[in-house]
């Protein structure tokens, strides 16, 4: 029987052991992610952190300042509806198409402006100002603020609840250790980010041409049309640096674009975005539904993980479908 003294001693030893610190790539990557989060939050806007005046002066200027705020606020409300005046509050399973066409995940505090579309996926919800939107709601930020433009029947995929994709290979890699450092063992598991939006707009996919609405209505429908959520599968080809990708088709797609981010030394790759902005890179443009990528090395350092995303573009280059990113670990 283990004694309590022995348990105490071992706990103390566990606490005193030297630890190999986090890889610099991971630290840098996390710093970037935090920076991205901070940039979406109003409280980190520099102009919201002014130097305070002495209390007496504040009291003197308070009425004038309040009046000025009221006047400016009234002008903004009555004249200008184009400024980013809305923010997502406590979103869950939400995807957003910004006014510039980019697709982003709905994160807490994300600012959205007029022309943006918010799609609430299966089991999801989001608050915008004082209204809570639920599963299947397609919310368009219009002239008069957020409006539910459509409500979709959410199709729950049987594979959606499975966050981990098993692969045929599992290789443990050991990080460099010091004499006292514990062996750091990583068990790579290609993971699939939870899919926030599953609904497929049956109206867009299935509506025959003869039943199309008049032009004015079609234009409105285009702005409210949510992107199709695509399935993306990624699997390392045996123990090579090749990654086999395949994805689901999207009706009306003229081509599919694969983007990726990579990481070395065991770090976590950033989330790939479209249009590709560093560190995201464009991997391929395809008209078929498969692609084999080679994730070899970055400046001579072997890639240890890659994240992929595929988007579907129509003939005008507009994004009409997007997958969640899929991560593939490539231990060497």
């Amino acid at each position: 029987m283990v004694t309590k003294y022995e348990v105490n001693r071992q706990l103390v030893e566990m606490g005193e052991v030297d630890v190999v610190g986090p890889p610099r790539d991971f630290v840098d990557s996390l710093a970037q992610r935090l920076d991205a989060i901070a940039s979406t939050r109003a409280e980190y806007a520099p102009h919201l952190n002014p130097q305070r005046r002495p209390r007496a002066k504040r009291m003197v200027f308070a009425p004038a300042f309040a009046a000025l705020v009221l006047v400016v606020g009234a002008i903004i409300v009555t004249v200008d509806n184009g400024s980013p005046a809305y923010a997502l509050d406590d979103p869950f399973n939400v995807q957003v198409q910004l006014a510039d066409g980019r697709f982003v995940d709905g994160t807490d505090g994300l600012k959205i402006s007029k022309g943006s579309t918010v799609v609430v996926g299966a089991g999801g919800s989001v608050r915008i100002r004082d209204h809570v939107y639920r599963e299947g709601d397609v919310v368009v930020i219009g002239e008069r603020g957020p409006e539910v433009a459509d409500h979709l029947d959410v199709v729950v995929s049987t594979t959606r609840t499975e966050p981990t994709v098993s692969t045929t290979e599992r290789v443990a890699t050991t990080q460099p250790t010091t004499t006292q450092a514990p062996t750091a063992v990583r068990e790579p598991e290609p993971t699939v980010a939870p899919r926030p939006v599953e609904p497929v707009p049956t109206t867009r996919v299935e509506a025959p041409a003869t039943t199309r609405a008049p032009e004015t209505t079609r234009a409105a429908t285009t702005t409210t049309r949510p992107l199709v959520s695509m399935e993306l599968g990624a699997q390392r080809v045996e123990l090579s640096s090749q990654v086999a990708l395949s994805w689901s088709a999207v009706a009306g797609a003229a081509k599919y674009v694969v983007v990726r981010t990579v990481a070395v030394s065991g770090a976590t790759p950033a989330e790939p975005v479209y249009p590709p902005v560093a560190p995201t890179t464009l991997v391929a443009q395809k008209t078929t539904l498969t692609h084999t990528d080679v994730a070899e090395a970055v400046e001579g350092t072997p890639i240890t993980a890659a994240r992929y995303r595929v988007v579907a573009l129509d003939s005008t280059g507009k994004v009409i479908g997007s997958s969640r990113f899929v991560q593939v670990n490539l231990p060497r």
């Binding site: 029987m1 348990v7 103390v12 030297d18 996390l30 935090l34 989060i37 990080q175 010091t178």
Partner: protein
Amino acid sequence: MLEASAGSLPITESDDAVVFPAKTAASTASEADERALVERARHDSRAFAELYRRYVNRVYAFAYKRSGSTQVAEDVTSTTFERALRGMPTFEWRSGGFAAWLFRIAANELTNHYRQQGRSSSHKAQRAFRMYVSDAVSGGEFDRIERMGSTDVIREAMTDLNDRYQQVIALRFLSGLSHDDAARAMGMSKPVMAVTLHRAVAALRKAIDERGGRDGHQV
């Protein structure tokens, strides 16, 4: 961008990582300085970046010691700082300060991780446990086996404890916090912390024994 240099921590570099002794990781900043920094971090991302630099290694080490997995340590570290960033506007300075709050978040994340993972132990840990229990009586092999697997045994047995006990043990033994700060992180007085810790360790000892019993070994 938040700058990710290692800050003032006494670190030495290895190939792609830093190595730092657990006992020397404590921040040298005074409480007043840190409090001012936290106040600025409510509105200034650069101030939060400084906090990040101060604590990222400590939080990572804490998560690693609890999990024994670099993957889990990275995940927990990421989630901890993301939650801290989101929670900064509502953070209230209490005794124990920012560190106690941050490590409490990390401890919560760790218990969440193990709750989600369930109690199905990894093969590696179960193998280590069996080796530990079966060989513990074999004289000279004891120390070797103990070094190889005892931490895994404890990590696995900790998952049998309730969240509160897990957090008390983790914060007290693995976070590098003092007894006082660990109590503050748990929101307990020192006497209550001591009693809870006593019970938690007793429960852990019992969990280790029960796991040995389930595997049919006699120690």
